[in-house]
Point group: C2
Chain length 321, copies 2
């Protein structure tokens, strides 16, 4: 069995010297034309545009991964941008995870899956564990971790924790997301002593979720002192992040919302513990499509542009860490 | 453009004379051996067990659909049981949706997807709308409706409503799920006047979600008086269902938890309005794998067993409707 997920991730963060996660959200229209043209003109794809789209995505992602693999510890492909191309898109998702793995990167399958019992277990096996097919067992979407939505409570989370823990893998549960209307539910004031260690006073729902995440991961803490059950906490709400950091000191945060969504280095600082660990900061468009804003070079240099965007982000984060 | 989703569904319910939804959750191990053997021994699948699994699932599902298509209005394939077989599984998912469609059935893609902005839009296009590929547009997973988890608030729901409304399609938002630990979050007591028309007193989170769903769907009501934004309300909590029915009279309920999960006809009754409409009741294992409990015939008659299970369920529901 491989080592504890979060221990592995921290090792990678220390080795690369930065807690950056590159989001691989390949919007087809934004993939450089020379890549798309090659894929769509290939003989075998002429009658199958979805296959061509998948091939373009795979080539684009491989370029990005090659460009950033020695600089960053983690990549996070967002599955919606693959599912939109059907099963061919899901093939591209699988190949992207495999290629990132080959290049020594930790992967987060950003799938936000959620269900109960044997259904949740099927998702967990699909992304973290093994699929049983007659007498064989095989890995399908072989990610190191997944994002999970816990609206269904512990029943929806326990199967992920079980599969993750058996296999040195992890999960990140949505706690306070980076979007404006996250307040609709997540900021509701909840009454009473609802969680172990919770307070009697009303507290916002995202804090209740924080207490849950902390308790759900208490049995799967690694040598680093961090659990393999992490939390998604948006960069756009630094005050709330500070409160959550205090509620769950041993929980690793996955922090979306840096860059394109408006969060800066100062905004993500509260997501970290004093040891400089505790958070991984994601940027997607700002890195993968950096070439669009770089007029000094052509789209052929998209991977170089991504690489430079990572270096700039690394410097930006270093100011506050 | 086709008609409003819920109007189409109600038409189908009236035509078939029952509000049954058959859940297509094809656990490979439970698929009759003669189907699996054929798929795994096929020349083209010998070196590709995931492809063989997908072929077995497709054949099994087609048999079930053929067996029940004249009796029920709706089928609901649960995507986790397809994703576990990777992209080949997703091909089976697509073919299952297409076949159900050919047979005149309304489909619910039970995917519980959730995200924000352009990501949520990508999911909505993947399952309800069209995927743009260079100059073309095409349908990928062509379902009539999807299930959605709204922990992220309106930002995570609006893109689904937009795509659904443009295309005569619908969605069902998780409100009160059928599992025991749904209480962890969904039963939390929430303070204050949080929703338009809400009360000042504390109310459970699932009721707040009910008010939200009611308001989110207010602009997309069909001729039937029902919105295309539905709610998932478990059969296992009849008291809570009664309260939710009162909160959102114009919202259609998708009701899981009947049969294998313990809910009976009396339990689902509160999900209906006085007009006998307002809910669609799902049964999965109890129908698709009915053959396992029927010793009078062999597994070759699995579709007949499913058909008889549907007839029994129809009679059971008729007692209370």
């Amino acid at each position: 069995m491989q080592k504890h997920f979060t221990d592995r991730m921290i090792e990678a963060i220390k080795k690369k010297g930065t807690p950056i996660c590159v989001g691989l959200d390949p919007r087809l229209k934004q993939i450089p034309e020379f890549i798309r043209e090659k894929a769509f003109k290939a003989e075998e794809n002429l009658k199958n545009p979805l296959r061509a789209a998948a091939e373009a995505i795979i080539e684009f992602n491989k370029g990005i991964i090659d460009g950033v693999a020695d600089l960053v510890p983690v990549v996070k492909p967002q599955v919606a941008f693959y599912e939109i191309f059907g099963f061919e898109g899901m093939r591209a998702y699988q190949e992207t995870l495999d290629y990132a793995h080959e290049k020594g990167l930790i992967t987060i399958a950003d799938v936000k899956r959620n269900d109960i019992g044997s259904t949740a277990e099927a998702y967990a096996k699909a992304y973290l564990g093994e699929t049983a097919v007659e007498e064989e067992s095989m890995r399908v979407f072989d990610a190191d971790s997944v994002t999970v939505n816990a609206y269904l409570g512990l029943d929806g989370v326990a199967p992920f924790i079980k599969v993750a823990t058996e296999d040195g893998k992890g999960l990140f549960i949505l706690v306070k997301t980076s979007n404006k209307s996250s307040a609709d539910l997540q900021d509701l004031a909840v009454l009473g002593d609802v969680v172990k260690g919770g307070k009697k006073d009303a507290l916002p729902l995202y804090e209740v979720m924080g207490y849950y995440v902390d308790s759900w991961g208490a049995d799967s803490v690694g040598d680093s002192g961090y659990s393999n059950v992490g939390a998604v906490v948006g960069a756009t709400f630094p005050e709330q992040a500070k409160a959550l950091r205090a509620i769950m000191p041993g929980v690793y945060f996955l922090v979306p919302g840096y860059g394109a969504q408006g969060g800066g280095a100062a905004d993500v600082k509260p997501c970290f513990n004093d040891d400089g660990l505790g958070a991984i900061v994601n940027s997607s468009r700002g890195i993968t499509f950096a070439y669009e804003k770089d007029e000094s070079r052509g789209p052929e240099a998209y991977a170089d542009a991504a690489r430079e965007a990572v270096i700039a982000m690394k410097e930006d984060l270093a100011k506050v860490l």
